[in-house]
Structures are given as structure tokens and as C-alpha cells.
């Protein structure tokens, strides 16, 4: 067994490990392979035995279940203490997790405690000689920054959607160990997890989606989107978070990491800039069409068809063409 130098903190919800955590593990396995470093997954929680065994079997990595009654649901203070305690007996170079509400909450806390560098929202690694640096989107994905750690240890968060997951049929099963962590929070207490209030509209099943962002300009232009929805039989209306934050549509329409995940045959993005948190919820769409006035908008990086136009003038033209075409139906 190679001594682990890369640790991956896996979040889970009642034993279910989300795709984002698998992607972080897969990132770590790749980093490990390129630098000849062993990888160990860590699952903090209260009932960790089953997910730990399951992960060791499906991903073929060694897994440490960190067990404690205050570790579930997530509490940043307690997770920091428990993970740091386990890492005390180890010699970590990298501690990875996914860039989710859990990951970016924990990463800086842990980094401060471990006197480590902290690099978030990572999408790639560059290795030149013995120098390792990490690539991350900046300026809403318009530029990529390359960051090098200045400390011996580095805490990383991996941007969801940036790689394949770790379940690629491993050669052998990993080892599992369960350790106890007696930490209790002192400054904060997690009370409960509230279910989503964004129910009432299931966008996940929609075949075609017309989606609007802050580029819509104001609620007075919503009718343009509603007419577009009507032009596509069975289409649903979705939006970016920024548009809901403005109060132009209720949150049940929101697509993205904190909204709904969709994978329709068509995603028509109107006035959406393409923030990673939005892309994270719709990158699985089959065909992506974007309308945006800014040719540099990062939504165009994931689009199949890019239209650089003002939506206020372009959508009426498009509607006219769509109507003229109805004979084809």
C-alpha cells in the first residue's frame, strides 16, 4: 500500500455521495498518478460505514470513515476539527474536495488551521519539472488564472463539472478504516437541513428549455421569453439565479448548482453570462444555443450555436421566423 499524500474529503447526503465529490476524487487520482502519490478518501459523518465500504469497492481507493455524532449534517467547525485531527497522523501534500457549498465553506477553514495554501474552483493542473500549479477560472470564466502554492500543503476545491467521475471499474478494492472523532462545535450549531423551497416546477424532465438571465433587462421583457416557450412545443421556462434574485421570476425556475440540474435536448440561453455555477446545472444539455450581446461571454464556450445579438431585437425576429416555419410541424 502506497502511503497516501493526497486526501479527498467526500461529502455525502445520508450516505449518497454526489457526482461533484466523485469528480474531486477523480481529480485527485489523476494528480496522484502524475506525481506518483497515493490517494486516500475521507468520509466524515455519523453513519459512514456503508458509504465507505461502497466507495472502496466502486472506486478502488482506500477510505477513512471519520465518525462522530456532530459530523452530520455538515458543520464547518466540526468538520475542520475532525479532518485536521485525522490528518495530524498523516503527511498530506494535497487535500481536495469539491467546490460546493460544503467544499468552499470548509477549504479555507482547514487551510488556515493546517497553515496550507488554499486554491479554490480548480479545473486543471500544470506540472513543469517539480513545479505544480493549478488552473482556475476567473472573471466569470473569461480568463484562466494559474496559481502556485507557496506552502508545503495545499487545500484545493475542484469545480464541479470539470472532469469525469471516479467510478471507472477499479482493478481491486480499497481498504476501509473507521476512526472516531469526538469533536463538538463551540461557536456554531447546525440545527437541521430544510428541503428545497423551489418545488412546483420540475425542469429536470423538460425536453426543451428556454432560459433567461439578467440580460433580459427587466420583467417587462419576460413576454419575449414566454412567446419563445410557446414556439417550442412542450418547452419550459428557466432562468439564471441572478434573474430570480432580481425578483423577475420565482426561484422554482432557477437552473444551476443551487437550483435545478437539467439536460434537455435544447437549452436556449438568452442574456446569460455563463457563470460556472450556472453551467454546472445545464452542461449536460444536448444542444446549447446562446444569445448574448457580449461576444466574450463565457456561455459561448459551452454553446453549439452562438448568436451575438441584443435579445430585445433578436427574439422578435426569431419568433417571426419560427412562426413562418410552422408548416414544417
Amino acid at each position: 500500500m502506497v502511503k497516501a499524500r493526497i486526501f479527498v474529503i467526500m461529502e455525502h447526503r445520508q450516505g449518497h455521495i454526489p457526482q461533484a465529490a466523485h469528480e474531486a476524487l477523480s481529480f485527485a487520482l489523476d494528480l496522484g498518478a502524475r506525481q506518483d502519490l497515493g490517494v486516500m478518501a475521507m468520509i466524515p459523518g455519523n453513519r459512514v460505514e456503508t458509504p465507505a465500504r461502497e466507495l472502496a469497492r466502486t472506486a478502488g481507493v482506500d477510505v477513512t470513515g471519520v465518525k462522530g455524532e456532530h459530523l452530520e449534517p455538515y458543520n464547518g467547525e466540526v468538520w475542520k476539527g475532525a479532518v485536521a485531527e485525522v490528518l495530524e497522523d498523516e503527511d498530506p501534500l494535497y487535500i481536495c474536495m469539491s467546490h460546493t457549498a460544503t467544499g468552499f465553506d470548509l477549504a479555507p477553514r482547514l487551510a488556515y488551521f493546517l497553515k496550507a495554501s488554499c486554491i479554490t474552483s480548480v479545473v486543471g493542473v500544470r506540472i513543469t519539472g517539480d513545479k505544480v500549479s493549478f488552473i482556475r477560472p476567473m472573471f466569470n470564466n473569461k480568463l484562466h488564472g494559474e496559481i502556485t502554492p507557496a506552502m508545503k500543503k495545499t487545500v484545493l476545491t475542484v469545480l464541479p463539472g470539470s472532469g469525469p467521475d471516479s467510478l471507472s471499474g477499479p482493478a481491486s478494492k480499497g481498504h476501509v478504516r473507521i476512526v472516531r472523532a469526538g469533536h463538538a462545535p463551540s461557536l456554531s450549531k447546525t440545527l437541521k437541513l430544510k428541503a428545497s423551497q423551489k418545488t412546483g416546477l420540475n425542469l429536470g424532465d423538460a425536453d426543451l428549455i428556454v432560459s433567461a438571465g439578467r440580460g433580459l433587462g427587466g420583467p417587462e421583457n419576460l413576454h419575449l421569453l414566454e412567446e419563445l416557450v410557446k414556439a417550442f412545443p412542450g418547452a419550459a421556462l428557466a432562468s439564471s439565479k441572478a434573474l430570480c434574485d432580481q425578483g423577475w421570476l420565482p426561484y422554482k425556475h432557477q437552473v444551476g448548482v443551487t437550483g435545478q440540474t437539467v439536460s434537455p435536448r435544447l437549452y436556449l440561453a438568452c442574456g446569460i453570462s455563463g457563470a460556472p455555477q450556472h453551467i454546472g446545472g445545464m452542461r449536460g444539455s444536448q444542444t446549447i444555443v446562446a444569445i448574448n450581446t457580449n461576444p466574450e461571454a463565457s456561455i459561448f464556450n459551452v454553446s453549439d450555436y452562438c448568436v451575438v445579438e441584443d435579445l430585445e431585437t433578436f427574439i422578435p425576429v426569431l419568433l417571426k421566423e419560427l412562426k413562418g416555419h410552422s408548416g414544417y410541424r
Binding site: G76, H99, I119, Y305, C306, L322, R329
Partner: protein, 260 residues
């Protein structure tokens, strides 16, 4: 109650970006900068907290920003939006500052000011780290909650109830002891636009400037080596021609793919 609100000045995301000749930061030609979108919610929340507390509780809202000279304009905006005082931690040059360095400057400045609450945005639009607030919390040993979408001060100002937004619209509910750092999600409130009289008042108000060198530093933990245009991962085709031609081409594609 003393509240500190961290506001960052960022390049206007609607304007084109250039990379500086040495490739280590964005171009420095004078261009429009604005207040980080996410920080407007932090300021508004501070104002709402002040409104909700009794007048005899005397709430004071300080805004702080770390950056070069140009950042003063954003601090003026913060005053116009309702901050009582503005503090500028003035950087010697206009280059990238890592989030840890930013947080350590803000924390060393805040250390002896008896803030009960420190509010930040959940993320800076330009560098997108989502960590400055948590670092401030760790350095000052304050409680901290990120991605906060709802808050209520309780226990006569000794505690705070918060809900943080996590994936798929779920919320984690927590109770924190004060003093605390909260990083706020848009949607927690609707920021109001400053009135003309507030803008005029802010224009006359002094900004306190603190030199970067006057604050102890905790040492650099990471470094930005370079900025690049991302490789276009796009399979994307840019539609050409007039608006009508673009619309026709799209309709043809929709038809071919049986989408209409």
C-alpha cells in the same frame, strides 16, 4: 452593534478585459470599475439590521475595501448606500492580491474594533474564490457561515440564526454565537438604489485611508503566476450575417434536429 461590511471593487464584467503585458494581471488602462455585485447585498443587509434594531442600540456600519486608489469610488458608493464610515486599506500597486492576503489585512484592521458582525459577499465577481470571509473568521476566531440567504439576530444580540443555501436549493439552518462572519448570497434582500441626497452626502464625506504597510501581514500563501485566455472548449459556431439570416439559420437547425 458594530457591523463591518467588506466591499470589493471589480472591473465591470460587461466590458472587454485585457491581460497586462507581463501576463500577471489585467490591463491597467483606465476602465470602468464597479462594486462587486454580491457585496451590494451585504451592505443592504447591514442597513436592514440597523433598521430592525432599536435606536438606543446604536448600530454603526463601517465599510472596508482593500485596493488601489481607484477603490475610493466604491467606498463612496458604500456610503451612499448607507454605510456610516468608509475605510480604505490602500494597496501600493494595482496588481493581484491573493484572498488570504486580503483577508489578513481586513482581519488585522478589524481586530480591535469590536465588530459583532462582519458581512461579505459570497464571492468576488473577478477572482471568484469564495474564501475571504471564511479566512477573516478563522484569523479572528469568529463563528462563520457562508452562502447565507436568511438571518435573524437572537438572544439579545448574543447569537444569530442563519440559513445557508446549499446545492439544489436546500438550506442548512445554523445558530452562531456572535461575533460572527457571514458571507451573503444574493436573494437575501433587494438592494435599494441610493437617493440623490445620500449620494451628495457621501460625496462630501471623508474616507479613512490606512496604508497597507501599517497593518501586520501574515505572509503570502499562494501566488498568481499568469492569466490566460481559456482554450475555447467550444464546439461552438458563431452565427453570421444579418439578424434575419441568423434567425433563419437557427430555425433550420432547430428543424433538422427535430426541435420544432
Amino acid at each position: 452593534m458594530n457591523i463591518l461590511v467588506c466591499v470589493k471593487q471589480v472591473p465591470d464584467p460587461e466590458l472587454p478585459l485585457s491581460i497586462s503585458p507581463d501576463g500577471t494581471w489585467i490591463g491597467h488602462e483606465p476602465k470602468a470599475f464597479k462594486m462587486n455585485h454580491f457585496d451590494r447585498f451585504a451592505l443592504e443587509e447591514a442597513v436592514l439590521i440597523r433598521k430592525g434594531l432599536l435606536p438606543e442600540e446604536k448600530t454603526c456600519i463601517d465599510a472596508v475595501s482593500v485596493g488601489p486608489q481607484r477603490v475610493a469610488a466604491t467606498l463612496k458608493r458604500a456610503l451612499a448606500m448607507g454605510a456610516d464610515n468608509a475605510n480604505h486599506i490602500l494597496l501600493n500597486d494595482d496588481s493581484y492580491l491573493s484572498p488570504f492576503d486580503t483577508a489578513s489585512l481586513i482581519a488585522s484592521w478589524a481586530e480591535d474594533k469590536s465588530y459583532q458582525l462582519i458581512l461579505t459577499g459570497v464571492m468576488a465577481e473577478d477572482d471568484m474564490h469564495c474564501v475571504v470571509g471564511q479566512f477573516i473568521g478563522e484569523i479572528l476566531a469568529f463563528a462563520c457561515a457562508t452562502s447565507v440567504i436568511h438571518q435573524e439576530i437572537m438572544d439579545e444580540g448574543r447569537g444569530i440564526y442563519v440559513e445557508r443555501e446549499v446545492e439544489s436549493g436546500r438550506r442548512e439552518c445554523l445558530r452562531l454565537r456572535l461575533p460572527a462572519v457571514l458571507t451573503l448570497q444574493p436573494g437575501i434582500n433587494t438592494p435599494s438604489y441610493p437617493s440623490l441626497s445620500n449620494m451628495l452626502r457621501a460625496a462630501d464625506q471623508e474616507i479613512l485611508t490606512i496604508g497597507q504597510g501599517e497593518l501586520p501581514s501574515l505572509g503570502q500563501r499562494d501566488r498568481l503566476v499568469s492569466l490566460r485566455q481559456p482554450e475555447r472548449s467550444s464546439r461552438g459556431v458563431f452565427m453570421e450575417g444579418t439578424m434575419v439570416e441568423k434567425a433563419r439559420a437557427l430555425v433550420k437547425i432547430f428543424h433538422e434536429k427535430s426541435l420544432i
